[in-house]
Subunit: 284 residues, 2 copies
Amino acid sequence: LTIIVNTGDDFTHLGLWISPDLDTVCYTLAGMANPETGWGRINESWKVFESLKKLGMADWFQLGDTDLATHIVRSVWLKEGRPLSQITHDFCQLWDLHVNVLPMSDDPVQTWVYTDEGDFEFQEYFVHYKCKPIVRGFKFVGVEKSSPAPGVVEAIEKCDVVILCPSNPWVSIDPILAVPGLWKAIQGHLTIAVSPIIGATTVKGPAAKMFAELGIQPSALAVAQHYGSLIHSIVIDNSDNLLAQEITKLGVHPFLTNILMHERQDRGRLATEIITYISRYVRG
Amino acid sequence: LTIIVNTGDDFTHLGLWISPDLDTVCYTLAGMANPETGWGRINESWKVFESLKKLGMADWFQLGDTDLATHIVRSVWLKEGRPLSQITHDFCQLWDLHVNVLPMSDDPVQTWVYTDEGDFEFQEYFVHYKCKPIVRGFKFVGVEKSSPAPGVVEAIEKCDVVILCPSNPWVSIDPILAVPGLWKAIQGHLTIAVSPIIGATTVKGPAAKMFAELGIQPSALAVAQHYGSLIHSIVIDNSDNLLAQEITKLGVHPFLTNILMHERQDRGRLATEIITYISRYVRG
């Protein structure tokens, strides 16, 4: 299993390089994630953050003490010239995490959200403005000049299946697909998306809101259309059974199951179902 | 009262700009200093430092959580282009500290200690190597090109008396005196040193050890000789009464009292005695 992670959300805050998606993936897999917030670390303390607030620092991006240590170390290592992929590998080792987690690129790519209230770096839009401004479009600044991180293309080339996780298609998956060479590398492989939309809403995050604001009725069908010819199959919720026919017309196989994940065991169940489905699909 | 503080000890650690002497002065005056360690903050926690150690970071320079916030904020402000003198002023405001604390310079000056085990940045020598290597000399890198911080020369010009506090002459006072223009600015003024040495030892810190390693018998007399023509008077301990005659021969007036400061009230007493002494001295 290789996990290729979006770094378009990365940003510099208080002089520290923060990679929110890499951290969330690693913290989650290492069992260190905070299940209540969906970001940051479990059993977290806020000593430095409280002091920073007293010194008048911006408080819209919350930084727990153990999380802050991650950002300090990453920033030191980046300044020393260590690439983000190496840093991510080193963190995985330190956290006893035996999964191959790769940033999409070692080059800086910055997701900007164009809105009716101005253009924002992703974290500003997402955390500071709580996704309230109406989205007009996106730009992944620097992506044209970026290269896939070492191992990314190799992992795709030798894999049996590429799964586009139920992350936000616009701002979590698209930045990865925009890294030169990645779309092409994926095209040769069996590729399955998991819909982040059930009915017309997302379980969490602004994906459905973004579809609507860009003039597209949010649905699992819209997700399938979004990925277009890249995907062979899409995993959608049982409740979206009425969309199956339309999705099939796109040349995409719908796989219906319960895709809502509340607990850890829901994730395991869905993953197992998808693997079983793939085996059938591949044999089929 | 204007306090001009050595910044030769400043260094970058974990990507953060740390000004140990400015912090110690401000924390002490704001009643936030840790009286047990002599550095850092009182009621401190170590959450981030513990996490940093787990991630393999150097642990020779201890960073408490509230102290770390100071370094993060200072580093952010420096990166924004705010001069250190302005930053120090802003911290004093935030800490409700109504004393004029000035760094000797806004320009970076770096104290290096030449030893028989190699050359070290001051904090490395002082904290990492615990002052163990034998000192051969010092260099204040960048001092020739530095300018006094705004307000430093002005404060000296309008003052009644300059007091060289009982800090280490070699590495705490000398860097200040080496800033171009400061020795000359002080020369026109009544200047009194307080000896950091009683008998042949310092109450704390490596001053006596440095005198000895440089081939000079450590004593209050050696301190008077070190400052030479710059000082008119030196405050020495009652127990050093046998040195009074030799000091007088240098053209320096010895003022004998109990200079050992254990508690806050000792500091108040010594300060009051020195002020009384100055009044007498000035009246002549």
